[in-house]
Subunit: 234 residues, 2 copies
DNA sequence: CCATAATTGCGATCACCGTTCGCAATTAAG
DNA sequence: CTTAATTGCGAACGGTGATCGCAATTATGG
């Protein structure tokens, strides 16, 4: 009976017919929540915090959003609006590649996004618009519908995975030579003599080229393997 | 100053020299936490819940684990122990493919694992053993150390992404014809006429073959593109 | 013009969470 | 046998998501 599905958010009108005018709005709440999440992480996005940030009482937020999950759903759909979805040029592969790069940019701007994207795909209007655009890209490709969906989903998944890996690898801003706890422990473990290959792999100094090209090659590889052509068939 | 790094767990001895014998153990706590997470989801794994499950007071758990994060780290490393890491046969690609399949199995057995794996890689002994095995697989491959690490990390990432996508797609156990909320909303949105390609893609009945083969082809594709050979060079 | 009905804002409150503190009880070492 | 460390844990603190009830506000129908 209870509305546990955050997707219910999109079935409710933002404002109903009668009653006092709301002092706030979904978009206002969304941008406030976004600012907090971008700066302090998703964990800092609590109902009370967001409410205070827009100048409302804690309980008032529930007039705009039925649950914390719905708030997150709102945030996800809002950032989905950052895609530029003009028709685009090039073959299906090139267009999907462009979408993937855009997605990577969005996930980098909003570090909390990538993990969520895999666990709970959003179904808001902006997210659906993105999906539609991605599928439009595959219009000329001869593949069953579900396969196209799968491909687009895996594209997002790979992008998310890449970005998360990118972020986990990125060394935290430690300007001083202060050894991190993690590093200290690792050093101990390696000194013990087990894990010889791990030691070797970590010892070799990091030569990792430009991550942009790396990302491009991974995605291209996947799409090619999935049967997405670079040029539309004639 | 505070030990915020969950990795600190592995630097502490399980039992110290003096004092009364502990009534519980890390592994006991881990298995209790695992049972709860597997059955009711990671959100149900609270300190109090796990403590009660092993017959201890809530505050007592902190004698074994310094924080909730460490408890999760303990859980992750424990399931990492489910890998079978015998040397294995075949070329590097085949061996990595086998590890990926094992990983998929583990993530399916423990649905809470996949999302965590990307966000917070574990560094416990079992996790390191896995990493070592994966790198041993690449012994004969001529690639710089960091590149090998990247490859192994992306392999886990892709596997996690695939499993999460798999689970999100899997229809929840709705035996009756009861339309889910999500479905209802989607139907409405599609009926509006926007999203024609999405509609088409969803209308086409799902013909998705065996997901095992799909997974194999995706991973093989990635590994091949990453320069991992099927047979060791002579 | 006014009464009605719906809706908003929100203080108070509930249950639960992670975490800390202080203390009695237990144990190994000197 | 004394000492020092360690365990188990009840109680408490601050924060969380969520609910309830009520006063204030508003568009609509009579």
């Amino acid at each position: 009976m209870p509305a546990l599905d955050p997707t219910d958010l999109w079935r409710r009108p933002e404002r109903s017919a009668v009653g006092p005018k709301p002092e706030h709005s979904r978009s206002g709440i969304a941008t406030a929540a976004l600012r907090i999440a971008d700066q302090e992480g998703l964990a800092a996005v609590s109902i009370r915090r967001v409410a205070a940030s827009v100048g409302a009482g804690a309980a008032s937020l529930y007039r705009y959003v039925k649950s914390h999950d719905e708030l997150v759903e709102l945030m996800m759909d809002t950032v989905s609006g950052e895609y530029h979805l003009e028709p685009g040029t090039g073959g299906p592969l090139e267009q999907l590649l462009d979408l993937a790069h855009q997605g990577r940019g969005i996930m980098q701007r909003h570090p909390w996004l990538a993990p969520l994207l895999l666990t709970r795909p959003s179904m808001g209007p902006n997210s659906l618009r993105y999906l539609e655009a991605a599928l439009t890209t595959l219009e000329s490709v001869d593949l069953p519908g579900p396969a196209k969906l799968q491909t687009v989903a895996m594209l997002s998944a790979i992008t998310s995975a890449f970005v998360q890996n990118e972020m986990a690898t990125a060394r935290p801003p430690g300007p001083k030579g202060a050894a991190t706890n993690r590093g200290q422990y690792l050093a101990e473990a390696l000194k013990a003599g087990d894990y010889p290959h791990l030691t070797a792999a970590l010892t070799g100094h990091s030569d990792e080229g430009h991550p942009d090209e790396h990302f491009t090659s991974i995605v291209t590889n996947y799409l090619t393997g999935a049967g997405i052509p670079s040029q539309p068939p004639d």
